[in-house]
Amino acid sequence: MGTAAVEVENVVKRYGRAPATAAVDGLSFRAAHGAVTALLGPNGAGKTTTVEMCEGFRCADNGRLRVLGLDPVADAGALKPRVGVMPQSQSAGVPTGARAGEWLRLMAAFHHDPIPPQLLLERLGLRSVATTAFRRLSGGQQQRLSLAAAVIGRPELVFLDEPTAGLDPQARRAAWDLVAELRDAGVGVVLTTHHMDEAERLADHVVIIDRGRVVAAGTIDELTAPHQELRFRATPGLDTAGLMATLPDGCGVEEAPSGTYTVTAPAPATLVSTVSDWCADNGILPAELGVRRRTLEEVFLEMTGRELRDG
């Protein structure tokens, strides 16, 4: 499998007249076939613009985009039957007067061998509202209908733009199960989210996007592993400089609050033995010694900054 399902290389998209702001500013990533790729980023990071370029809704100003090996705009006719799309909730794209089941049957009618709409309605807990007009559905029901429409044509690849926004915990779990099942069936999934738990739970590959650029990418393990930290409690006022001297370069030791020591290391291989040896040599009994991986959220906040974004 030489090519990826989605290949994005140095893509740029600017909005507005001069001085145009770049919503996507030299962004590159790859999404594999039959895997879940999460585009993770704060609001306004360029996730939706990126997805909409992949869907052929927008032309990139610069760079190269390939979806299933094809150009999303030039080869749109060939791509559309193969790619499922779930737009963001505020633009679900259902006529307000259409009924849920009726609209899903329409989406099914565009495909040669669709999943039977009734099965999907049932699967997503929408059977009881099949004859309800779209505008009378709750936000969560509208979201689930939109998700059903994205997968009804048995696509090879689906783009889900914030698929769980506005869902209650049960519906969110149902959506996650569906995504996992799609992946297991060999469907490639590219989803955007700003929920860390969603990315941690679902994604085979996470692409952290900020200000239109990729700031980090990899599996959850790859993203969180390099940032291990070790903590222990002991008497306050230990010789942290002495401990530091025994550790490899790039490590840090901090005592905060008093009596609690945190050792951070970029390469964690021998961290535990080094620290416990040092403690033994110095007659210190380290309490509650433990290694903790940093969560994706901590990695994300470090990459994208902690300040509240304006706009």
Partner: protein, 283 residues
Amino acid sequence: MQRVEHGGHRRGLQGGHSDTEPPTAVSFAPRPAAAPLPRMIAAQAGMELRVMLRNGEQLLLTMVIPVLLLIGFSLTSLVDVGSGSRVEFLTPGVLALAVLSTAFTGQAIGTGFERRYGVLKRLGATPLPRFGLVAAKTLAVLTVEVLQITLLCAVAVALGWSPRLSALGIATAVVLVLLATAAFAALGLLLAGTLRAEATLAAANLVYVVLLGLGGVVFPVTRFPTAVEPLLHALPITALTDGLRWALAGSQVGAGSPLPAVMVLAVWTVVATVLASRLFKWE
């Protein structure tokens, strides 16, 4: 061989118990392919038609108002339609209004809100090509027009309308309605594809009322000052009304010709189609 027999046996057993399979088991294994174009267009046209017929405000414009105008002005002398039978004068005008209401007003408002709610964009992500969407909308509009014309003709006949029909007259009427539908729909899409949905709603209703007043629908064009009369005859609604009056009554009298009406509608169709296809914004 054994495996096949075994499998066949199992399938036979399960055949009677298909209910026992969990109903929510869905296979998502990729098998993508677009449906044949005619099936896509038929499905989309059916959806368009149902949404149109379910929309109360739209039915008011397309069915209720034309019927009320026909009945009201036929039975009362509120409007001076000149000499001759009132229903004879009113029916072609009200039929023209019905075509206007569906092809122009309904399409402008409907498409304007579809654009706003992202319906056009969402459909753009399906295998249905844009050409297929336009074909489906056209089919739905023509179907509603057939319903309107049937209803209005039935009401008119009940009111004493006795059209002098001829093969030429009917053929002319069909051509006029098709041309007018194309012109009105293109104008409606031009509005819907360039203005905000609310502005389209206001403008489309305003145009409906203004053309109802100016287009010879219920008030004869001859009531207006002679200076503006040629301008009024250049309106697509007037052309359709004039043409239908000839087709449904005058074609045997030999008076006048439907050609000017056909020409006016053809020009509107070409201009509006070119503008709409150039200026229409899908989002």
